[in-house]
Symmetry: C2
Subunit: 169 residues, 2 copies
C-alpha cells in the first residue's frame, strides 16, 4: 500500500514525519542515542526483522541522520554513526519521552531516567521559547505563514482564513 | 498487516508511538492546535480519507487526547476538543517542527512561523533541561533504568550492560 507523501507539505511536522516513514525509525534512532552502532546490535535490541532494519537504516543514511562507516576490513563490516543532523533529533525524542512519562506510565514512574551530566541531576525535557525561555504551550503560540510557505498556496482564501483565525489581535 | 505493539515496552518513546499509531495522528493533532474541531474541517484541511480520519479521531478520543462534544442537536453533530493531555502534546510537535525547520526547509526558510504571544517574538521551540535550563543534547544525557522499568527485565545481563555502557563515571 502506498503511503501518502508528506514531503512537500508546507509543514515541518509533516516533512519530518515523511522522513521518518514509520515508528521503527525513531526507535532505531533511540538505539543510536544509547550508543548502538552495529546492525546485529540494533537487531538484537529491537527484535526487528532484518529486512525492515536494513530498510530503516538505509533510509536514515539516505536522509543523512546516520553515516555508514567501515569498521572492519575482512570481512567488510559497517557501523552506523549519528551525524550532526541525527544528533540534533535527540531533543525531539526527549520531548516525546517526557510526554510519555507524564501520561503513559500507568503510575509506575518513568521507565528510563534522564540524568543530565553537566548539572548532575535526574531531569526531564522541557520545551521552551527560544526568546523568553518560558514553556511553549499550545494556547500561547500563533502560527503564521512563513517565508518557506509556497506563495501561491498562501494566497488561497481558505489558507488565509485558516491562519487569520489564530490571530487574537 | 498487524503492526508490532510498542505499548508495553519500557520506553516512553515506544509507548507514545504506539498511541499515535501512524503519522496521520500527529497531523490531526496539528489541526486541532490550529483551532480545527469539526470532522469536515479536519477532512478538508488534511485531504484525508473519511474512514481514516474517523479511525484517527476515535483513537485520539480513546486515548483521551481529544474529547468528543456535541455542538448541535438537530441533526446531532460533534466536535473534537483538545484535553489537557492532548494540549500537553503541543511541545512535542513544536520540537519536531523546529527540527524540520532547521534541516528540511531546502533553504526556503520555515513554512510556518511560531509567534509567542506572551513575549511577542517570532520564536522556535528549544528543548532544555528541567533543572539547569540548558539545552538537552544527546551527548549530555545518561539514560538510567527508572522506577517504571520492569524489575525482571532490568536484571538481565544484556539490559544491565546496555545501560552501564552509558555511564562515563
Amino acid at each position: 500500500m502506498k503511503r501518502t507523501s508528506f514531503a512537500n507539505w508546507p509543514c515541518s511536522v509533516a516533512r519530518t514525519m515523511n522522513l521518518l516513514g514509520d515508528w521503527w525509525t525513531p526507535l532505531v534512532l533511540r538505539e543510536a542515542f544509547y550508543g548502538i552502532s552495529r546492525f546485529d546490535q540494533f537487531q538484537g535490541e529491537l527484535g526487528i526483522a532484518r529486512n525492515t532494519l536494513t530498510d530503516r537504516l538505509n533510509r536514515l543514511v539516505e536522509y543523512e541522520l546516520l553515516r555508514k562507516e567501515q569498521y572492519q576490513v575482512d570481512p567488510v563490516r559497517y557501523e552506523y554513526v549519528l551525524t550532526e543532523k541525527g544528533k540534533d533529533f535527540y531533543p525531539v525524542l526527549a520531548a516525546m519521552s517526557a510526554w510519555g512519562d507524564r501520561w503513559l506510565d500507568k503510575g509506575a514512574g518513568p521507565p528510563i531516567v534522564f540524568h543530565h551530566r553537566s548539572c548532575d541531576h535526574d531531569v526531564t525535557a522541557e520545551v521552551v521559547c527560544s526568546h523568553c525561555k518560558e514553556p511553549l504551550e499550545a494556547d500561547g503560540v500563533e502560527h503564521r505563514i512563513g517565508p518557506g510557505y509556497p506563495a501561491r498556496i498562501a494566497e488561497l482564501p481558505q489558507v488565509k482564513a485558516r491562519f487569520d483565525a489564530q490571530r487574537l489581535d
